[in-house]
């Protein structure tokens, strides 16, 4: 039972991070039908930004500002930097290809991904950096069923939920959200309705990338380590989560992320740590074969 609760918490935290990355994928896909494979790198840059803000504020050993302020600063900086990076990527790597085949931006996305990984390697070196969270924040946290639940994990989970709810409201209630949905539904018609499509797309990229930036900082806080290659695998998991949940669907991305996090932590616990990845991929293949459009996906990807 203890193990179960422990893995539940672990799976939910990991899933929360995947979900935030998946949200970005889903937003961009929903509006542009574009698989932004550079999204993982945006998340990596977010994690690095958070790290450098922390170092700039005195480092894990002796922060010069209160810890909560430091963390807020880390999140804000990472979200802004990642958001701007996402906008830049859209402007330079995707916009020129908007009228092209679907696969062309896929390749330029991979190019961006390779470029960013190595640019960070060039600029900051290959050393793995550590957020070292326990040195400035090691609250005991509540006990649940005999399991110590770490406060950082709770924060991450709560924040992920807040961001998701906020995003849903943004899409459903605001003018920007209406513009977004219009562009997603029919870009040409949206132009004729006087919607500035470029502006909407830029904003979508900013929001999606800012979420990835937040996810980057969260990973740093909970799992400690950041390096220049961390984005690829996380991006892959986020992409998977988005598709399993039903790409284009915001609750789907959240569900998909949590599901994958839980599958990973429970297979590790109850089946085999060694085969956790193999099994989780197998489960996902089965999900996809049974529900080809993802769990909550409604719109057909290809209209027949």
């Amino acid at each position: 039972m203890e193990l179960f609760v422990q893995q539940l918490v672990n799976g939910l935290t990991l899933g929360g991070v995947y979900a935030l990355i998946a949200l970005g994928y889903t937003l961009i896909y929903g509006v542009l039908q574009l698989l932004n494979f550079a999204h993982g790198e945006v998340y990596m840059v977010g994690a690095f930004t958070g790290f450098f803000v922390m170092v700039g504020l005195g480092g894990p050993g002796k922060p010069i500002v209160p810890v909560w302020l430091m963390i807020v600063a880390m999140f804000l900086a990472a979200m802004v930097v990642s958001g701007l990076l996402g906008v830049g990527i859209e402007r330079f790597a995707y916009r020129p290809l908007r009228e092209s085949t679907r696969i062309a931006p896929l390749i330029s996305a991979l190019g961006v991904s390779l470029f960013l990984q190595n640019a960070v390697l060039l600029l900051f070196g290959s050393r793995v950096r550590s957020y070292d969270t326990p040195r400035y924040w090691s609250g005991a946290g509540p006990q649940v069923a005999g399991v110590q639940v770490n406060p950082v994990r709770i924060l991450v989970l709560v924040l992920a939920i807040i961001l998701m709810v906020g995003l849903t409201r943004l899409v459903e209630k605001t003018a920007f959200g209406r513009g977004m949905r219009a562009v997603a539904y029919d870009r040409d018609a949206a132009v004729m309705m006087g919607i500035d499509v470029n502006k909407v797309i830029v904003l979508v990229f900013f929001v999606a990338s800012a979420l990835a930036g937040a996810a980057g900082v969260m990973v740093g806080l909970v799992f400690f380590n950041v390096n220049n290659y961390m984005g690829f695998l996380a991006g892959l998991k986020g992409f998977t989560a988005a598709v399993v949940g039903g790409i284009g669907s915001i609750p789907g991305a959240m569900l998909g992320g949590l599901l994958i996090g839980l599958i990973e932590s429970f297979t590790t616990a109850y089946v085999s740590a060694n085969f956790a990845s193999v099994l989780s991929f197998l489960v996902l293949i089965l999900v996809m074969l049974l529900k080809p459009r993802g769990l909550l996906g409604t719109r057909a990807i290809v209209k027949v």
Binding site: G11, T13, N118, L121, V128, R129, S130, V147, L233, T268
Partner: protein, 386 residues
């Protein structure tokens, strides 16, 4: 119009080429930096290129970058001291045996290359061994620990670090006799290094009647919490065969987060300033080179130039020294590949920066290799405990 284009392009190209020629010397200029000031001491300086096979990019770049930088440092130090003119040729393997088997013939084809430092992984050594044997190219690995590599299959191979069969029992002994371990969890990275060492330790522990559980994790795994949850409360030691010290630290932090009492015992990959959680243990085939007076200069020079470093760098420095010493012996002008290769096993570095003398057995292993075990103190610095 077209002719004019050609002329301009031609002009540009030649201009660039000029710049390129001038610039092409830069890498050599750095590696032979002090040569400008000092010049050669006597006769013609011994010249030759040393191939460095390491995961310079890709997932294990943290290791390869350090190895490459230490090799560069070794070359510039050695050149400055001995008036030689050695240089470095990089070979990026991404820790993949397939890439390594492409890089090896490239180094063989490059006539300037007289010896190779690396490759980093045991599986890479296996895949490049035959090619280097055919070419009579010496290759000295700073990190391949699989015991079987020195069983005679690769006559030109040597390494400056002890094998898994040396480290395994040493670590197991310590866990049982000093830490009183009854129950040990081995968390093993799915790398060639992790697999070999974990097996060696598991075997040694089981012979001592210790309850051993083995958990395999991916090196790219971001989150250890699911793994840590599998560590029972009465486990006393978690042995981590990680290559990246920061990962060991994340493991230790996660254990503490889940209020597990077990201490983390990291293998040599974890011996680095990156793994600094008080109360944990780490073993290494080299003492802290910053603590050795004779090695301090190298450590400081490295830190000043490239920043912090871990375990994989200093042995690379020594491996590079071994190749250069072998090449410089009886060298007039250009060093010779075959001669270098036959000289390697005779090289002796009595005061290596690893704090132990380096001489080789006839199989290419280091003689009388010792292991050092450290406990990380409250000051976050390792202190020798064995």
């Amino acid at each position: 119009m077209r002719a004019a284009t050609k002329i301009l392009v031609g002009m540009m190209a030649s201009g660039m080429a000029l710049a390129a020629c001038a610039g092409g010397e830069t890498p050599a200029a750095t590696s032979t930096a002090p040569a400008m000031a000092g010049g050669s001491t006597s006769g013609t300086p011994c010249t030759g290129a040393i191939g460095v096979m390491a995961p310079i990019t890709g997932g294990a770049a943290a290791i390869g970058g350090e190895q490459l930088n230490f090799a560069k440092l070794a070359v510039s130090d050695y050149n400055a001291k001995n008036g030689t003119n050695f240089s470095i040729v990089e070979g990026d393997t991404q820790l993949d045996a397939g890439q390594a088997s492409t890089v090896a013939p490239q180094l063989v084809s490059n006539q300037a290359v007289i010896g190779v430092v690396g490759p980093a992984g045991s599986q890479e050594v296996e895949s490049v061994g035959p090619a280097f044997a055919d070419a009579k190219m010496a290759f000295v690995s700073p990190s391949a620990t699989r015991t079987s590599l020195t069983s005679g299959a690769f006559p030109t191979f040597a390494r400056v670090i002890p094998t898994d069969d040396v480290q395994g029992p040493t670590d197991a002994d310590f866990m049982v006799s000093k830490l009183g371990a009854k129950k040990v969890v081995i968390v093993e990275e799915k790398t060639s290094y992790g697999a070999g060492l974990s097996s060696a330790v598991e075997k040694a522990l089981k012979e001592k009647g210790v309850d051993v559980k083995r958990i395999q994790v991916s090196q790219k795994q971001p989150d250890y919490s699911s793994v840590v949850a599998l560590v029972d409360a009465d486990t006393s030691v978690v042995f981590a065969t990680f290559q990246i010290a920061a990962n060991t630290k994340a493991l230790a932090n996660t254990l503490q987060q889940q209020s597990k009492k077990a201490v983390v015992f990291g293998s040599d990959g974890s011996f680095s300033a990156d793994f600094d959680v008080p109360g944990q243990y780490v073993s290494s085939f080299a003492p802290d080179i910053k603590g050795i007076p004779s090695s301090k200069a190298v450590a400081d020079a490295y830190t000043a130039k490239y920043g912090e470093f871990g375990t994989f760098g200093p042995p690379t420095y020594v491996a590079t020294q071994v190749i250069m010493t072998a090449a410089a012996k009886d060298c007039t002008g250009t060093a010779d590949r075959a001669k270098t290769s036959s000289n390697v096993l005779g090289v002796s570095i009595p005061d290596s920066i690893l704090g132990q003398p380096i001489t080789f057995t006839d199989k290419g292993d280091v003689k009388d290799a010792k292991f050092f075990i450290f406990k990380i103190g409250d000051d976050r610095k390792p202190a020798l405990v064995n």
